[in-house]
Symmetry: D2
Subunit: 460 residues, 4 copies
């Protein structure tokens, strides 16, 4: 395993990262992205075990419901890139099990995963393509590069071209797991490509954006100033991939397997994250209600009860997904797809409603509380503290810090990012509904209905 310091050093590998129009020469030293490097490094240090041959607990394969359950609190301590790394590993393992007739891919995947574990590497998930005109399939696009594809086949590998969007932590990872964004049809063979590419491979260029705060005073952003992660726009400008890093190459029938496998783990991660986050929203709701002296007001209690029911349903889905896990061909434990998807959908669809409740409970000071720095001003500091005090014993500064935390979490750049990320991770609400439906036993439900109506075969 490697330390945070070793991780920082590893980034100086010639990778091509861009931010707001400029190439980033020194990632750890960058005014915005440097903070994101710190976040990743801190997670390395948190899980570091100096024993030779030690493996990060985030990178092993769960073998039972208990294993799956034990991983959830670990992941909650991990940063986003550690999440995507374990999701990538599980995605590859899951996909390997679903292509039993192509064992050479399974062997490559196994070898690659072992290498990742021993290197303690970080992996970003490259799935969503540029897509061009979304009403057209990959093979029908005016610009053939709208979906990532093979543009040249060589004896020892392939050359790919395209772009992958919304790639969390791309420029902070060591490896990019590149997979088809959807099912492909006959004739779209060149688009059925899955592979692993080092971030610093020639031809890879990453344009980052970030919700990290730009204000002078981080006290206004107590949460996001401490932990943030950029989103990368990853361009493959004719990148060579050697044979041993190719996990699918033209077998269109399996093009969707990777996305479906990733979807499962991404939604499980999303579900676990939303469960923890929903508890935090409840906590903030109750804390600010108490600070405002309104925690006994019936309508405030109703809203908090609503938030509690919401978080409990998400948690229940997670519990049910884990307890009903399915075992893979090599003894891997996979969460139940139906429960995972339904819970993820519910959490995503209702997140904005929960935030509305929190804002309704907290009040307008969420966005109008003066800066912490105002407390230090000679002319107004004491007055701001006095008038920002709430219920008896609630200091003005404490209450202001709560407001800033709630705003930072839900009513500023991160809140916007979070809302989109909740909706879109796993493919947007529409896709999430389709996937849920796919995993439900509709025939059994029809059978039950017919029996109930006295219309089953054999009834009168």
């Amino acid at each position: 395993m490697i330390t945070g310091a070793e991780y920082r050093t590893s980034l100086a590998d010639g990778r091509a990262t861009f931010f707001e129009g400029e190439r980033v020469e020194d990632l750890p030293g960058h005014r915005v992205l440097g903070g994101a490097v710190n976040t990743v490094a801190a997670c390395y240090d948190l899980f570091y075990d100096p024993k030779p041959g030690a493996l990060s607990p985030l990178m092993t394969i769960p073998r039972s419901a208990d294993d799956l359950k034990a991983r959830i609190p670990l992941l909650h301590q991990a940063d986003l890139l550690a999440h995507t790394t374990q999701q990538s590993i599980m995605t590859l393992i899951t996909a390997a099990g679903r292509m039993p007739d192509l064992p050479h891919y399974g062997e490559r995947i196994k070898a690659y995963v072992e290498e990742l574990q021993s290197r303690d590497a970080r992996v970003a998930e490259c799935i969503t393509d540029a897509k061009g005109d979304r009403s057209l399939s990959p093979g029908k696009q005016p610009d053939a590069d709208a979906y990532t594809h093979v543009v040249e086949r060589r004896a020892d590998g392939v050359v790919i071209r395209g772009a992958k969007l919304h790639i969390s932590g791309a420029s902070l990872a060591h490896e990019l797991m590149v997979i088809p964004t959807k099912a492909m049809k006959e004739g779209e063979d060149d688009y059925a490509i899955a592979c692993a590419i080092p971030v610093n491979a020639p031809g890879v260029r990453i344009v980052d954006v970030s919700y990290a705060p730009r204000h002078d005073d981080n006290r206004a952003f107590p949460i996001t100033s401490q932990k943030h992660c950029p989103e990368g726009f990853v361009i493959f400008d004719d990148v060579f991939v050697p044979e041993e890093r190719i996990f699918l190459n033209g077998e269109v029938r399996y093009a969707a397997v990777f996305a479906h496998s990733l979807g499962l783990w991404e939604r499980l991660g999303g579900l676990a994250f939303m469960a923890a986050e929903a508890d935090e929203l409840v906590g903030f709701g109750q804390l600010i209600a108490e600070a405002n002296g309104l925690d006994r007001a019936p309508h405030i209690r109703e809203k908090i009860s609503d938030m509690i029911i919401h978080t409990t349903l998400i948690r229940a889905s997670l519990e049910a997904a884990v307890h009903n896990c399915k075992m893979g061909p090599n003894g891997e434990a996979f969460p139940d797809e139906l429960f995972t998807n339904a819970g993820k959908y519910h959490g995503a669809a209702n997140y904005s409603h929960m935030v509305r409740h929190l804002h309704d409970i907290a009040g307008a000071s969420t966005v109008t509380a003066p800066a912490i720095a105002d407390l230090e001003n000679n002319e107004v500091g004491a007055l701001v503290r006095k008038y920002m005090s709430g219920a008896e014993g609630v200091d003005g500064e404490y209450r202001m810090r709560l407001f800033h935390a709630i705003r930072d979490l839900t009513a500023d750049a991160y809140g916007g990012w979070k809302q989109l990320a909740n909706l879109q991770s796993g493919g947007g609400l529409y896709a999430q509904r389709i996937v849920t439906r796919k995993h439900y036993d509709l025939e059994e439900a029809k059978k039950r209905a017919l029996e109930f109506a006295g219309m089953a075969d054999g009834d009168d």
Copy 2:
């Protein structure tokens, strides 16, 4: 154990049942209630085991999560009165464990439960009082009888007076479990009374109502003509209760224990029932969409996906409640209260929305499809069949029967009863929210929020 026939005979015990203004002399032979007797008798026969000393699997105490889970499909085959019987048993067992300092009640309960098991008796749950002016507590009512209370204390027992409302199956049961409807205060000792009373005890009078169909032709009510259960308005007009059947008598601090214990099992039962029912609604939605030739229409699929997510969340809550069960002092397994309540609330709150989806999918023929008898009319029968045919291969009669089943289930008297029962069992949505909140760890949520905001003790 007893058979259905023995059950029928057992009802001729002098019980005082009333229906639409008249006293019912012969329950099994009654034009409406007779059908309900059939429903109970059929359940007796279904579970009958002639082995001497055999116990109904519905009446035993679960000892593990697996026991709890195994019971769910059994209950789904059982009638409502079998449900209330096992809920009553579990309520008494649960309450006994919560009054460790009053062991004599525990012993009476144990003896009573064993008697119920050996008699294979049926029990109705008598909880909701008349309540008079609901803004006043029991001890402040203008009419002291608004809540059931002790009006006389004798050496060998007590005499009670009052009424209990919405008592499912009361006049079909053998025993009435009478418990306080809510917490009582000091001075309300006479209202802190829990006991068991035979249905035919002198002074007990039961006024029944029923959603059972009154039409001439049962084919219009394929579901409710086969299975229904009356609601009893149970009057205790000075009923004597012997000492050994009294399970609480004046200890106001425990008055709420019975209602809370019942609530847990009632909501678990409600949750299990709603999970099965929600699957049936999905089944009907898909069947009628197929019969209409609309199952590929995107907006129809969206609605069915919504219904699937709904039923999956209910199922997830049930799974989580069972897997996280708590063990009682004597090894009884109790479902987790938080998951049970949140799931029950969600199911109840969204039931009418699911029905709206089903109605939107099915269309107006749900309530306008001609009678099955119209198919037999010489002048119009063939034409009705012809014009009620739907997608290719869908016969007019099949489609009509689906419409009648959906109407019977969701858009007629039973549908109304169901909607109210879903909302009100467990005390109305408001009460369900309060109970859910009570079982959530709000302090832990606050702690997490403070940590997340960097405001936990020890943070700078």
Copy 3:
């Protein structure tokens, strides 16, 4: 104008009505449909003006926003068949104005409307076809009769065949307005038929269903026992239509004009009806909350506030639709389509939620209150009255009657019919959304958004 008595007599014209398998020989004397005849007759009497040449105010053409507004309370007093009559008249007038290049149809319509006015006739709206396989268009159906069509062309008219479903009051009307259910394509000329047909025309057969109560005691159904209307399944078994009663005959480009015109008036009627009904639901909610002694409870007040906001939004849509009315070519006032549709959609989509609120407020006695007849029983009457009393001064019978009214209105057969009718009149929620979208100025909204984003033409 004619009286209720004259109306009754007019029904003995040989019409072929069927009900639950039997032909109805005497409509006014029929055990179920007779009540519906009474409802229509009462409305005739209510508006009867003996002056020779008097016209029913329900049958005239509105000429201004004030006219439209003045009609709303009149319609609220009218029965459903009077509604459909005025909607039919306005539909024909509206359609006539939209086919300026086919003036002969306009003239026939004008003559027909004048005849209807002078006969004071009642008209049923025949729109929805049997539809067969809904995924196929009319011309592609395996059974060519799935949509009503011309099967023979004669010198003096046409012969039509098909069935129309969900035709409110069909067998109680004098005339059937038959119009295409949707747009037709080239080659579907035979399906582009609009015409008027007397109910007693040879070949017309009507199969009725009804939500009217079948209980012995009408006091359990205080609302629907007084006022109900059957739904007809109308079969055209080769019916001849003379030339002067044909309003469209093969001009496929205008096939949808009638349905769209009807939709406007049907939705306006639906909107007006829902506005009145929503006020009644609020009224029942407040009355039963007061009777229960719970009208000061915060959560009850919240629910009533929700219901108030709902009814006010419906009312606002109605006001906006009327105030923004458009004038037709001959000075007729048409309500604004956008406001009408949006309001109708909102009312329909949220109706079940409002009913849920009412049920949550009222409690389980809505479906478990004893019968009024039980009050008259010697053994239990006084006790039922005593225990059904609520807040101080609230008599048991009064409260029971409120419960019966609420159940009759929202939790029994009529409630189911109402829910379906709300959703489906105007074509189901999906169709209502499409229509709303069609009438919204999307280009203007795009223009505003671009301006707001600084991206309008002319911006840098």
Copy 4:
């Protein structure tokens, strides 16, 4: 009237403004607040009329429904401070009419309004107090200053102390309208104070916060970089108010009149603003759907239809409020309170749902689209443009600018502020429900329900 340039000059009047810990010496030149000054100045220039004695159309009193309606598009062009100015004028006029027995206040108000009109001044609305412990009333607070109150009475006026929170544009206005935040009780006379105070009066100190962007490149914030307005935390540290600027002074019975009057106009303004904004959200939804090539996808169309219905209901409420306006004692037109409140509530409660739809339509690029500056980078500019292109003919830059606009409007600091402002202006959802309820005719609804149930006086 004055010009933008004259307005800028007018700000150098010694006012005490603070921002992030520092006193602001030069408002127009301030790095953040300077932009807000530009926004106000631009509005002055837009409405400037050099004619001597000309009055701003925003500052006159509406006399009819037409006047009210005509004002709406004007206000849409105006900045927030012009809104608060006209709301303040209408609040004072409305309140004057509601205190007929205190005519001296009415006269002072009239004189003050005329002065405001002739000075073309800007007014901020100071209503919400610090409130301390919100479970206690003003007179019971541990800190007597938690609500603004009179601390000294002099012959020529009073001295007040307290703080007012969330005061939009306070430090950019000329005048502060100070009114009680709620009803006061007997004994709370000192808190029943309404008055006008110049922004630069001795003792007034304003601490500003702002959602204005801090990024280097305004192209990432096309909307908020052009138009923003700070929120002021206004401290009255013993401020003298001369007699002629006092509009209420101890008459506790009228303490709530000002807040209610302001509420009416604030909610009307909020409603009008939300109607325009909702159209813009629809516009952005359609534009980005088209740019993505997804505008024909059924689920996208469904979401846009939902948004259209939402905006139409808000618009309908506004129409109904204006058409049903009430006339004041001096001929002023007041919008209908019921429609105003119901519409405002609906808009506020559903805003976050509409934003969720927009985000679901737009996709994750809303928050991950590269910066416009990235297009200018030699290494990646062309590739970013290529891969950000969408449907045929949609240029990458155009699509990126749409994403940036949507993020700026709904998923960044302004989006958070907007969400809170929507919920909280008018007092939070709970208060808005109460107010709506207050203006609904509940007795009439009860009467109708009883009639419908056949239970009205005079019925059998």
